[in-house]
């Protein structure tokens, strides 16, 4: 049994399998997976119990309100050692149950919960005897989430129509660049529109080459990234350096929504943000609705799943893909504006720093679903913010390792937590019509 089942469970589910088999992974491997998950959870419990708990003393204090808020919540003070032992027990209980009996279909959820418990343990351990502002971390999580979620959304729109977009990074950078130049010259709103258009133009390049010339979509994505990085660096050196006034755009300020903005915790997180962050939430909701409830969405998804079927019903595959890709590109360009107009008002070479790739990961992690991608982006935003806070309170972990957190989280999540997401069936397949 061993030899064969080992081979099987490692192999991605292949398309040749008949439909009935497609969704099935055999139970033996499931059992083994359940055991492994159980062991992982028990390991986490052991870390908390034997490493973190003994090493902590004092009270960990987490601030829940900014000083200027209307309604103040008192800070959360947690006796670290006791709390850690309790959390270790919880982990051990969950892990033991998982190992012995398994949570079946809920085991992924339980594993997720275990990770959350573990992260909380780390936070308590690191903060023992000190304090930091939890609310600040949460607000920063939302801010850091925005470009990642928007980048992921850009990818989702393209890929739901069957066009792989790994040029998100380039679209972000391009949007950031034109956003700041036009923003400097003509004002923030014009900059925002220019950024959006830039993303659209880059997407047009992706659509044009992949649809009309059937160029490998991944190649075009790589090229868009290279091209935009090169062009923006070149133009920064050749033009912006000489004209610093072109690189000095107004910033969109945070707009506090009356009443809602005063709610403790929720208020500062969701109702005191810039227009770009609000737009991010709006676009996620809108895109979800459009994709799954509108005629446009049905057609776009049909083109991404089975372009032949769509074509046979008179839906133009090329036109549908063009539209979706350009819309996706515009979202990417808009997201790029966040880097300049949303935060600092100026451009610097390579300033997006890989956010597009993290967005790509969020897209896959979120199962090509806007809400899922937003959730994934929140995890990245959170791990990023958390690592910053931990660096600030001087944990024993070197900053380089703290800075790795988002990347490690991505790998763990993509490899372990979610299993395989199912991409649109025709994603990346060039459409050819005779």
């Amino acid at each position: 049994m061993s030899d064969r089942s080992a081979e099987f469970e490692q192999t991605p589910v292949e398309s040749y399998l008949s439909k009935e088999v497609k969704s099935n992974v055999l139970s033996k491997s499931k059992v083994r997976r359940a055991k492994i998950i159980g062991i992982v959870m028990l390991f986490l419990a052991a870390v908390v119990m034997f490493v973190l708990a003994p090493a902590s003393q004092g009270v960990a204090t987490f601030g829940l309100s900014f000083s200027d808020e209307k309604f103040q919540l008192s800070a959360l003070a947690i006796p670290s050692t006791a709390a850690l032992y309790v959390l270790a027990m919880v982990l051990a209980f969950l892990g033991g149950t998982q190992f012995l009996k398994g949570f079946q279909r809920k085991s992924t959820l339980i594993l997720g919960i275990s990770f959350v418990v573990f992260v909380i343990s780390i936070m308590i351990w690191a903060t023992a005897g000190q304090e930091f502002s939890l609310i600040s971390m949460l607000v920063s999580t939302i801010a850091r989430t925005a470009p990642i979620a928007l980048g992921a959304l850009s990818g989702i729109l393209c890929e739901r129509s069957g066009v792989v977009n790994i040029g998100i990074e380039g679209m972000l950078l391009g949007g950031a660049f034109t956003g700041v130049v036009m923003g400097s010259l003509l004002g923030g709103w014009v900059g925002l529109i220019a950024a959006t258009i830039t993303g659209g133009i880059l997407a047009l390049l992706l659509a044009w080459l992949s649809i009309n010339y059937r160029v490998d979509q991944i190649i075009i994505g790589v090229v868009i990234n290279l091209l935009v990085l090169g062009l923006t660096s070149f133009l920064t050196a050749q033009v912006l350096v000489k004209r610093p006034e072109w690189n000095d755009a107004p910033i969109f300020p945070a707009i506090k929504i009356p009443l809602l903005g005063d709610i403790p915790i929720i208020g500062p997180m969701f109702f005191d943000q810039t227009v770009i962050v609000y737009a991010m939430f709006g676009l996620v909701a809108l895109t979800t609705f459009m994709l799954f409830r509108s005629r446009w969405g049905l057609r776009t998804r049909s083109v991404g799943e089975n372009p032949k079927a769509a074509d046979s019903l008179g839906i133009s595959v090329a036109k549908t893909r063009y539209l979706a890709v350009i819309y996706g590109g515009m979202v990417g360009g808009f997201a790029g504006a966040w880097f300049t107009l949303g935060t600092v008002g100026r451009f610097d070479e390579g300033m997006t720093g890989g956010a597009g790739f993290i967005g790509l990961a969020a897209m896959i992690f979120g199962g090509w679903n806007p809400i899922g991608a937003l959730g994934a982006a929140l995890i990245f935003g959170f791990s990023d913010s958390l690592s910053q806070k931990l660096a600030l309170i001087n944990t024993a972990i070197p900053t380089e390792f703290l800075a790795m957190t988002p990347y490690l989280v991505t790998i763990v999540v993509v490899a372990g937590l979610v299993g395989r997401a199912r991409p649109p069936a025709a994603d990346g397949v060039p459409w050819e019509k005779k």
């Binding site: 600040s136 935009v228 000489k242 935060t343 600092v344 100026r346 910053q388 900053t399 380089e400």
Partner: protein, 369 residues
Amino acid sequence: MAAAVIAVSALALAGCSSSDSTEDTAAATATESASETMTDEATVDALPGAGMKACQVTDVGGVDDKGFNQKAYKGVTDAVDQLGVEGVVLESQAETDYAPNIQSFVDQGCDVIVTVGFLLGDGTMEAANANPDLPFTIVDYAYADGDITNNNVLGQVFNTDEAAFLAGYLAAGVSKTGKVGTFGGVNIPPVTVFMDGFYYGVQKYNADNGTSVEVLGWDPAAQSGLFTENFESLDDGRTFAQNLVDEGADIVMPVAGPVGLGSAALAGELGTDKLLIIGVDSDQYNSDTANPGVYLTSVLKEMDVTTFNAIQSVVDGTFVGGVTVGTLENGGVSLAPFHDQEGAVSAELAAALETIKAGIIDGSISAQG
């Protein structure tokens, strides 16, 4: 068709960049395009450096890094203006470029070669030893005895912590929240030396005044603190500053090149009653045209002056290798004026700063804690 579309997107990216290329020489950054010759034809014969060539190799940060490359380059351009030398710069794209870039300057017959940063330490040493009669000067680097056979390299190092010490003292005195913060680009000595000085300056203020102002973001004992791990992401500059503000800091010193501009942008938005920024390297009141008002002061590291002096000594024929150390005493490092924030600094505090400065210069106060 392809060309057309690509050109369109190129245009879009170029924004409004027209072919109008009149140089805005008044711009504070004063950076000309790479390798442009800056000899002023009219005065060429009048100045002592006419016919001589000063050449700079940057590290991977490039000449517009808003940090030491740019500052050193200002020394070169000053030499062009004041001494009449020809100034050339080469930007390095990768580690592998240093040696050939230096070599191509050697081949071009440069009279003095300026290199910048520890990354160029090895390359400069090799070139200097291969060309023992050619003067070199390297910013932010000093060689050990015996490294340079013919003593033809002038290392420029700076006791930045002395000026940062003053900045820390000042910040502690100005802070209303009793918390000040700092963060760095990467945890390396040219960065952390600022943070060290800043930290000890705050401690000094506490000792002198019986206060307990806290420093967030750097712990000199553990040599650990808050780092963006890059010198590019302006957004990090903003987020990190926000983070420090949320923890109660009202003055932040970012030591991360252009990343600090992100912090300044935040200060511009929050208002100077919430956040003041301390600039580094240059007087950022002058160079950050977007938010000049948010700078309490800047920790100046006069690499342009030392670089200019080195070039001048070559022009004069008085060049000597070795190490020049920029200190408060010789003006190599200093604290910039308070500019718009003059009002935030009380007369007593300003006076105390002068005393401290004198103390550092005469050695009675150590910037090393």
